[in-house]
Subunit: 330 residues, 4 copies
């Protein structure tokens, strides 16, 4: 039985607690949150014990840590968990600073602890199936990847102001997905973005609508677009074009019901947001973490994947600010 | 150049005139209609000559007759055309009386003239492709055929009163389609029907909503349903279930445009009615007729197909009236 | 906390145990099965106690019974549960004998215990949403209901031989769905059926492919078709046609991934069978039962719904055997 | 009756001849082609007279010229037609040289002759409907336009070598579509492209796979991607995201038939190429031209639209070559 300590009992911590409950061979032993009520509420539904972060990181009865705290707490918690030999499941982004991520990598590798970066979309059954079929050669060599991500509505401007910006906060998922699908490193990127949804987002120095093109050394192309608003629900689509055809994954709709009237044929909106759409992904992600830790294999996506996605997000941020393409890596 | 005389210059006569114009190797030489203005209007757009029905039937410069007059004129015109050795394209139904159809068959076969019964749906590119793939064995042996036909709106009650009833006027197309797809004769049928769309249709002795089950000697099953009203356009669907899977043909929508809003994903209505949906079918039908006549092969569907569909429509009418199943053939 | 005893720890008992685990306010206290290993295996994953059926039925620490045993055990267990004042969740069919169901109704009503008949499809999120929108008037008055049910593959002939036949074993779900959607009693029915999938099914006196038409007093029509085989997965579709349009629910596919090649556009098969397709339905069903029992409202579908569906299944069986329509009720 | 002279009797000249035949109020009076057989073949099916280009440009019995010759002939023919006061329908691109197009504009405006640039996709019923609904405000202000164009297979390398490159030869259609949909000028563009389909295309100095991002002064974004190869047919899709939702137009498939087997649900490939997909568009385009000329309104898209699209194609070519974004206009 893998005994897990959860740091952070907000929305995402609760998602992971629910997932752990449904995974065989794992249990939530302890949890911590800066807000006492958040911790005790989750303790009540899980049966876990409320402790301090420090107590959890050093506890001998804890095997693995799930980090779902605000991003600026990640660094210390990762360093602490690594120092104490705990397996680590850390929500994205690992850290806003690439330098900090590199220091985490060093600590994690020195300690030899398993590390999973929480890019949950890799575990979505649709995207995972698409990628498996891609790797199985169903459409031959990849030529062009198109990723569309649109949130149902923008977060509060107060959140945006300290989010690191759309490319680091939202599109980072798509950068990881692009890497996951492409199977070759990107070498160049150009990003454009605007504040069209809400001028206040622009005043906060961020964009809410953006498009990026990335290319690999062999010339493969990826285009990503993001919007902070989609009237019809959480829009999460992928399309990969290859030598032999195309693989694409459409949205999951709320139901399969269709209404036909003189206005035409109307299906349901897309599932509202990530809690609905990625419910199965969160479960599969936790199962993959528990399996990797208990069998001694390296979890994927690992901490290097967290670093690479952050590097792309930084590059996109710079490209958007300068209006120039950015070379990556080297 | 196949020289064609058109009898009946109403809506369907105009459809056939347009089709002939687009078919290589055929021309409209003459046309007739009980309403002089209808004839002269169609003459103006085709360049054909207005003549009497009798003159057309006996004209030495006419090779083939297209009959698009009211049903109660068909018998005399078929007999006249056969007597004069003309190839015949006759709109469905051949005649309301099975005895009359049998007399037509005798005359047509004695004269040895080609005869096509205007079951246009066999020529719809979707249904034709479905049937070809069925015959090619893509789903193995047929087990269950489901046919759905719904008109956008009922015709005037005055039309319904002299139409022969829904089974002979509307479902006759589906009976022919059932035979076309099944590839085995039906032996038994049960029909149920109601006037739900308009009580005046019921008062006229007819139904506007109906469902029929038919079975073959080997136990294959076909279910057909009809409605005189569909808010979302002309609903024309087919589904065939076989040992290895299913083949189905969906509606053609007005456009491929889809609108996504907080109400969901909305596509266009189905193409409004038969003129839109079966435009390509009418053209293919005429091309098949001209090709058959000019190459000396037998057109399909022939006059026997017209008879068989009428027998099924008669049986369904009787079944609905008596509430009992009806055995067919023998 | 509603304390539940599960009778029968086979596939469906396990489904219900999993559902109870996920429902707040309910727990599995005890379970029983004729096979000791089945009981102890489920006890191990639920933490419940293994007892005898009798002990569970009379236990003071049990509030509700979930009956997932073979059909011929239902009668005694229902009578026992009612006699001991337990709430009852009983898998369909309640009993193969309409007389027995009537005796159960008497006992249940005398005891005043809540009773839910396990027609799980009413709780499928798609079908439930369709029905709610139907009742909300989105397509006006119902005119024509079409229900399609096809299993991925037939059960063993040994199962079929003691199943009561396709109409009682498989189509009974569709009869309940027809009642659920129509909102008016059926008065007449005609069934046709054949053994096309496997001649051994025919030799066992049953059919594997069937179609039924039902009508209500006001002339509304329902057509149901069943097959014991569908190459493309569990085919579960509903279509309701009304005065203002159509509502339909399509299959849930395994994923949303689509492959486009020179062969066309290929989506995934339908979810394989009921465990996958109705996973959410089973959970919603159990939640509805627990909520009804704990709040003192009558669960739906109740035992009368179990009776009505059985009456339709009996009528369809008779109709298929005699080749004649059957009048219902009165 | 608008009397039309066709210059160029190749594939596209034949398309236009067929369209003119179907448009009321227009006729092909004369035609010319460098290959005598091509001219006489089209003369035979249209009944038009074969003449020289010069004779047609100066003929008093010709009202309008349709230019479907190779691009390097357009300039002289436009200048000749303008000088002789003929209405002009010119295939895209107007000319490879922006300077030449500017001289054509001067000549056309001085002569006051109507001019339509053959961006046929604006007339596709799906795209035209999408745009009309966009303008009607169905999704509010446009924020993000996504255009996907993929040819079924690359043209011969010999063609590519003298085509002006993918951006001028193929993506020019998408640039016009982007302008058509966006309703605001683009100010900046970044293009990336590779030769992934065929290295010989790269050796000829061109690309076969490309993606471009364009932005407008107000920050709206358009992303376009092209491939010279799509196994599943001619891939022509548009998606517009706005404040209130999304409008998109999917491909037209060869038929509506769907096959369901253990491999899943398979629909037909997309219509093969432009002759099939844009058949209705070519007809609507010609009808629009004839209507504009005969009613004295300005045809759209006009010659300025031809210029603007060429400017974008030039900018994209430069961007791809330099690896830098390009500012447009000013």
């Amino acid at each position: 039985m893998l005994k897990i300590g959860i740091l952070g009992c907000g929305r995402i911590g609760q998602v992971h607690a629910r997932a752990i409950k449904a995974v065989e061979g794992a249990t939530v032993t302890a949890l911590a949150d800066a807000l006492p009520q958040a911790a005790s509420a989750l303790a009540a539904t899980t049966g876990a014990e409320v402790r301090s972060v420090e107590a959890i990181l050093t506890a001998p009865d804890i095997d693995a840590i799930v980090i779902g705290t605000p991003t600026d707490s990640h660094f210390d918690q990762i360093m602490g968990a690594a120092a104490n030999g705990k397996a680590i499941f850390c929500e994205k982004p690992v850290d806003m600073s690439v330098d900090n991520i590199r220091r985490c990598i060093e600590a994690v590798e020195r300690a030899g602890v398993p590390f999973l970066t929480g890019f949950n979309r890799r575990f979505d059954p649709n995207f995972a199936a698409l990628r498996a079929r891609l790797r199985a050669g169903e459409i031959g060599a990849v030529e062009l990847v198109t990723i569309t991500s649109r949130d149902p509505a923008p977060p509060p401007v107060s959140y945006i102001a300290r989010s690191g910006g759309l490319f680091r906060d939202m599109m980072i998922h798509d950068f990881d997905m692009a890497r996951f699908l492409m199977g070759e490193d990107f070498v160049r990127l150009h990003a454009m973005g605007s504040a069209l949804v809400d001028p206040a987002i622009g005043e906060a120095g961020d964009v809410d609508t953006a498009a990026v093109i990335l290319t690999t050394a062999s010339g493969r192309i990826c285009q990503i677009s993001n919007s902070r608003r989609a009237a019809y629900g959480y829009d999460q689509r992928i399309e990969v074009h290859g030598a032999l055809g195309m693989l694409r994954a459409e949205n999951q709709l709320e139901t399969t019901v269709e209404l036909a009237t003189d206005q035409g044929f109307r299906r349901a909106p897309a599932q509202h947001f990530f809690l609905e759409r990625y419910e199965a992904a969160y479960l599969a992600e936790m199962r993959a973490f528990v399996t990797a830790v208990t069998t001694g294999t390296a979890p994927e996506p690992g901490i290097h994947d967290g670093l690479q996605a952050q590097l792309l997000a930084d590059a996109a941020t710079r490209s958007r600010e300068t209006g120039q393409p950015v070379d990556i890596g080297g």
